[in-house]
């Protein structure tokens, strides 16, 4: 795993460097350097193999299910980039040791730097597209940390965030692109992908994959229109700028384009996107650089421009373009890193990077200045330096490229870019280093320690060496280009200073002459430039972000209002919409079931139902009217049950309806009479529309279901009701026999619910809530609280009702009826006593405690169930027999009837308990002193017989 070790050694260094800081700054830097050096040595051990044309691949399983393996490979391209990363990295580590001030936390710096180095090596060497992505984002993260290294600088914080937003966002796009690419290629191994160019380019996923990958590459390599983050990243310490933002990280995008060049390049869409983007970036970057005053800003835009050039060359899609691009990568890394470090030296020594406050440095810091001037000359593309060679080759290639049928476009723009770069390079040289010495500088400049200029000198040495003896770069260039192109044959090119009189030579001369003229005329040009509009990328970025934030806030503010009605409306609207889609997609043949004949009562009933529902919508402000109308709905539903031959259901429905209406009426007394609409008319109409559509949908569904024959378990119950449960009332048999266990559970729940009502309303009798209740009581009342006719009627009815209840109870097993209905009937009769004769009167005469009734009911039901154990049958097995009672006739007595008795008692108890408590609340609230009003109690309630009332009620 020696290749993996190359990647992870710096990571180890990143962990160790912060620990080493306690032994001093030198130890810290030495640790970092040692880690890099070890990695470099390991890398070099692959040198013979790579240059013999071998591709070394090493793999360790990681998450095989994911297609993830720690696969690394080293070929010419990876080796080339890894060498750049580690070589320049070592120089930067040395340089930074002297650059960082004493108060800067050095351990953290080296940790971040080595973290970055590790990630970058991962990009260069990984052989798995997914691992590649991991390292890709890690470079963004470490770049974020390094840009924001000086936390006290606000521009550092903003720059860091912007850089991460752009490159991280591009990284996310790249993830998507890689997934598509892997899918198109059928593998995630990079070494495989790049051999399947034809398959990939024939895949329908090619275009989306290409677009997404290009977004990733362009954001990372600061290509137009994503170029703006790079200059703002210059807030980082200069070693970081030199390393990340010129020599390595920003080249990751170029590396990406080169690595996947065989898989992606060569198509029209590749050419038509990549070349113009690179070309435009090259020209714009160079133009902006001319007028920047900050040395680092100037260099940053120059970097943007150079990256544009590499992108453009790769965009050509020709092997020659690749060769030149790789050459430019090498040259640019050398001269630009040297220049950045020189800028750092100036900043360090002169205390400013503002080109307007500098000048004449050559006399004050000769060594550093000479080195910087050579590097600048190379950047300008002056002969005998490496920058000249690659620029010359680029211009030559441009001459042979035509885009959109216009032959002169590319060469002209390329010349323009070269011309601008001459201008900014000369401006840097002249105004920064040459020119007259100033009276004063923020600090007095002098040459820095050798540790700072040494690395620069090494790089400049390379610049000159390649410039003077171009063929020494030959093997590197050839091996790298072969790896990019995945071929052993390279196009013809010659690394020489003199190519004869070629168009490129003329273009170069033009560039140098015009560029020099521009610098000579800089003052007037600068005035003219100041008059031009300056689209400020950062401001645009900020404005875009602000607009998105405003939009997001607007949308969430409008949808997330906190209004429950709106939320519910959206939910229902969504389900209606989805339902509509389902409806439109599915078949909707009419049902096969035969329709029942329609009759007049049914029509009338449905008409009333619809009318009542409609009125409720408009009359709902009055709670009383709403309650009355909804009870009408309930009654009609029970009539509907009758219509569909379910008399037992109808009976149940009617009694439940009556009980709930009465209880609600009692509760209504405690509430305000009216509920005012809280929303605007428009909102209500909107909700109304949703409701109508949803209602129609549900009605249609009901219709569709009912017109179809569906197999249900009804037949089973119909068939087994009599033989199995001994009764012909199927509902009752189900309740007490077939699903007796359920019923048993339900009556327990019912009892608990009643107890809960009891307990909760109890708290309403105390403290503040009781006082609020008192104030809410309606002040206007009928003069006669207990009208005589009602009192008489209810007292006469009571015994009759109880008889009816018993009758219904007894016949329940075979005819419509049963314990549940009987319980409700009896409970209604008892409630009527409370309503008609008053709470005190009735409570004083109540013999049975509702709590006890509930308890007894549950116990009886349970005991019945347990009884079956004595006969060796499971819980709640019922049995039945027939008895002859004189006068009544044949009576069936099933054990189920005992169970039903339990149900009966529970229901009565529950209803009474709920009623009892509601009445008590009203009763209590009534007695609390109410502000003087027309109402006088008919008699002194305090003197009325006291009923069971816990002592704590007095606290109120």
């Amino acid at each position: 795993m020696s290749i993996a070790l190359i990647v992870f050694l710096p990571l180890l260094g990143a962990l160790l460097a912060p620990l080493a800081i306690r032994y001093g700054r030198n130890a810290c830097a030495a640790t970092a350097g040692a880690a890099s050096l070890a990695a470099f040595a390991l890398l070099m051990s692959h040198l013979p193999g790579v240059y013999a044309g071998e591709v070394v691949r090493q793999e360790a399983a990681w998450i095989p299910q994911l297609g993830l393996s720690f696969a690394f490979f080293v070929d010419g391209l990876g080796f080339f980039f890894a060498t750049l990363i580690l070589g320049i990295g070592l120089l930067i580590i040395v340089y930074a040791r002297y650059y960082l001030a004493r108060q800067d936390p050095m351990g953290r710096f080296y940790a971040y730097l080595l973290l970055f180095q590790s990630a970058m090596l991962g990009i260069a060497l990984s052989d798995n597209a997914l691992i590649f992505l991991v390292f890709w984002e890690m470079t963004s993260l470490s770049s974020f940390l390094l840009i924001g290294y000086w936390r006290h600088l606000p521009e550092g914080r903003q720059g860091a965030r912007m850089a991460l937003a752009v490159t991280g966002g591009g990284g996310l796009a790249l993830i998507a692109g890689m997934l598509l690419l892997g899918e198109a290629a059928g593998t995630y191994a990079i070494s495989e992908i790049i051999q399947r160019g034809e398959i990939i380019q024939a895949s329908p996923l090619y275009v989306p994959a290409l677009l997404l990958i290009l977004v990733g590459a362009f954001t990372k390599s600061a290509q137009f229109p994503f170029h703006f983050w790079l200059p703002h990243a210059m807030a980082a310490p200069t070693p970081v700028s030199a390393y990340l933002h010129s020599a390595t990280m920003v080249k990751a995008g170029v590396f990406l384009l080169a690595r996947f060049w065989p898989a992606l390049a060569g198509t029209d869409i590749w050419f038509l996107i990549v070349t113009p983007v690179g070309l435009v970036t090259m020209v714009i970057g160079a133009f902006i650089a001319i007028f920047k005053h900050d040395l680092k800003a100037l260099l940053a835009y120059s970097t943007v421009s150079n990256l544009g050039m590499m992108t453009m060359l790769l965009g050509f899609g020709t092997p020659l373009g690749v060769v030149i691009a790789m050459f430019q990568v090498l040259n640019h890394a050398t001269f630009k890193a040297a220049l950045f470090m020189s800028a750092g030296i100036v900043d360090h020594e002169a205390g400013t990077r503002d080109i307007r406050k500098l000048g004449g440095l050559i006399r004050l810091m000769p060594i550093a200045s000479v080195l910087a001037l050579i590097a600048a000359a190379s950047m300008a593309g002056l002969p005998l330096l490496n920058g000249f060679l690659s620029k010359e080759m680029m211009l030559e290639a441009a001459v042979h490229t035509e885009i959109a049928g216009i032959p002169y476009l590319v060469p002209t723009l390329a010349t323009l870019g070269a011309l601008f770069s001459v201008a900014y390079s000369l401006r840097l040289a002249w105004f920064g280093y040459l020119g007259p010495t100033r009276e004063s500088y923020p600090h007095h400049p002098h040459d820095p320690p050798a540790g700072m200029w040494g690395p620069v000198a090494l790089l400049v040495g390379l610049v000159v060496a390649i410039g003077l003896v171009p063929p020494i770069a030959g093997p590197v260039l050839a091996r790298t280009s072969m790896a990019v192109l995945q071929t052993d044959t390279l196009p013809y090119y010659s690394l020489a200073i003199w190519h004869g009189v070629t168009p490129a030579l003329f273009m170069s001369i033009t560039a140098i002459v015009v560029g020099a003229t521009m610098v000579a005329l800089y003052r007037s040009l600068s005035t003219a430039h100041a008059a031009l509009p300056h689209p400020e990328a950062k401001a645009m970025f900020d404005r875009t972000i602000a607009a998105i934030v405003a939009l997001a806030r607007g949308v969430t503010g409008r949808t997330q209002t906190g209004s429950l009605q709106l939320y519910a409306g959206i939910i229902v609207a969504a389900i209606v919409a989805v339902g509509l889609v389902a409806f439109l997609q599915g078949g909707h043949a009419p049902g096969a079931r035969e329709m029942l004949p329609v009759n007049t009562p049914a029509i009338v009933a449905w008409a009333v139902l619809i009318a009542v529902s409609g009125v409720v919508v408009f009359a709902h402000v009055s709670r009383l009217i709403t309650l009355v109308l909804t009870s009408v709905v309930g009654l009609i539903v029970s009539v509907a049950f009758l219509q569909f031959s379910a008399p037992d259901l109808a009976l149940t429905q009617i009694s439940v309806e009556v009980v709930t209406t009465i209880l609600l009426l009692l509760a209504l007394n405690l509430l305000p009479r009216r509920s005012e609409p809280e929303r605007s008319a428009a909102a209500r109409w909107g909700s109304g529309a949703i409701a109508v559509v949803a209602g129609l949908g549900v009605a249609y569904l009901a219709y569709a279901v009912m017109t179809r024959d569906v197999s249900s378990i009804s037949e089973y119950h119909v068939a087994l009701s009599k033989p199995g449960g001994g009764g012909t009332n199927i509902v009752n048999v189900i309740l007490v026999d077939f699903r007796g266990f359920d019923t048993f559970g339900e009556i327990i729940v019912l009892g608990i619910a009643a107890l809960a009502i009891f307990a909760m309303l109890d708290s309403a009798l105390r403290g503040a809530s009781a006082r609020r209740l008192a104030e809410m009581l309606p002040s206007r009342r009928s003069g006669d609280a207990h009208p005589m006719p009602l009192v008489v009627a209810t007292r006469v009815i009571l015994p009759l009702a109880i008889t009816v209840g018993v009758f219904i109870f007894l016949r329940g097993h075979n005819q419509p009826g049963g314990g549940f209905i009987a319980g409700l009937v009896v409970a209604i009769a008892l409630i009527m006593q409370y309503i008609a004769s008053g709470y005190d009167w009735a409570a004083a005469r109540a013999r049975y405690n509702p709590h006890a009734m509930i308890g007894a009911g549950v116990l009886i039901a349970g005991a019945t169930g347990l009884g079956s154990f004595f006969f060796g049958a499971p819980f709640l097995t019922s049995s039945y027999d027939y008895f002859h009672i004189p006068l009544v006739g044949e009576v069936e007595l099933a054990t189920a009837i005992a169970f039903d008795l339990g149900v009966f008692l529970t229901v009565v108890g529950v209803v009474l308990l709920a009623l009892f408590q509601i009445s008590r609340v009203e009763h209590k609230a009534d007695r609390t002193p109410v502000p003087a009003g027309p109402y006088e109690p008919p008699y002194d309630r305090q003197a009325a017989p006291r009923v069971v009332e816990p002592a704590r009620d007095k606290e109120a």
């Binding site: 890709w136 924001g148 996310l172 899918e183 939320y567």
Partner: protein, 487 residues
Amino acid sequence: MLPESAVPLPVFPVPALGPALPEIVLAAGALVLVLVGAIRGERSTALVSAGAIGLMLVALALVFLAPAETQTTFFGAFVSDAFARFFKVLVLIGSIVALMMSHDHFRRLGIDRFEYPILIVLATIGMMVMVSAGDLIALYMGLELQSLAAYVIASIHRDDARSTEAGLKYFVLGALSSGLLLYGASLVYGFTGTVSFEGIQLALGTGGASTGAIFGLVFVAAGVAFKISAVPFHMWTPDVYEGAPTPVTAFFASAPKMAAMALAVRLFMDAFPTIVDEWRQIVIFISLASVILGSFAAIGQTNLKRLMAYSSIGNVGFALVGLAAGTEAGVQGVLIYMAIYLVLTLGGFACILGMRRGGVVLEDISDLAGVYKNHPGLAFCLAAVVLSLAGIPPLAGFFAKLYVFLAAVEAGLAILAVIAVVASVPGAYYYLRIVKVMYFDEPVAPYDPMPAPLGGVMVVSSVFNLIFWLVPAPLFAAALIAAQSLS
């Protein structure tokens, strides 16, 4: 004497209780805890809390000890397979950690009632039943047990208007969605003649889906989407997350999300696998809508809890990308996603719960200014969580996303994956703001000292987050076994 009946009465044997042992232990234990609380009153809160945690740890151990093969009981209504056990572990971890983090918080607010831990246990039982549901009835029972407990928990801070409002909203909308789900279930039952997932699968597999069954599917999906708070049924989430006390929010964001997602997966993969094309459209839609809204609406939020709410919406959307694939790999992706999401969420909420100055609970992003200086641990944990949620490698959140995307791409849903990735960009930018505020802004005063459980959760979450990429195999293997047990 029993008379001879014409047809022999069906005599039901007692079902095997073993597979449901963890649930039964929890249920019995919860009753004991209620009694302890009722007898000893409010003083017993600490005891009941400890008891509840202990109880859930026992349940966790029982889940681990359960036999590896798939067991079915209660006449097919309850399934204990690797899938269920995977999610039960997640649910229990979520509940235990949420409970551990809440005690101190509630004590300071003066609302440390003994009912809270019991309600958490009850909700947990509900969730475990949801996870193990083998038919629509069990599904609904579990769902309601969980939901009803959750409604109460949301408004546990009774004297706080926001908390009660949160509870009310949650209840009303929850009831609406339960109604939708029940309605859908009844349609499915009506058109397939069975409630068991297996039966539904068979019925739909032979005859194809009738329009009625598809309607049922739509309504059931809507109910489930509400529970996982997927767009457009997400509206309650930000309000409830913000309104409820923070430990409650931490609970809501963790365990119930796991259970609801498990429910969604089981429902779609177990009951409706034969009509993938029909439900895939729905899942794709809600998944994309959730991802986009979750990412987009996170922008501009100032309240951390609201931000977490939108993040949860977005993350659910991502997990649904895996479900949309409708394959075993997709399910595995969902499982991995939810497990990682659980750890991240709990870590994130531990950080939020640690934000308290002078006894005042802080919830705004601006309150995080310069936390790095005074509380480097908290800042680091939250930064890792936030970056992980944004899906930045090599943090755990990246692998969660990666796997579901891979599954989607393999299932031919490349465009879905791409849109989901691209839609997450704006949200990612906004998460960075938190990191920036914590690391680069000027610090104010330090927070109050943190209770030990919070620190512990932060450490565990951060370690998981950072180390996951080195040792992902155990989770992947567990998820694979779980996914295989489903098909």
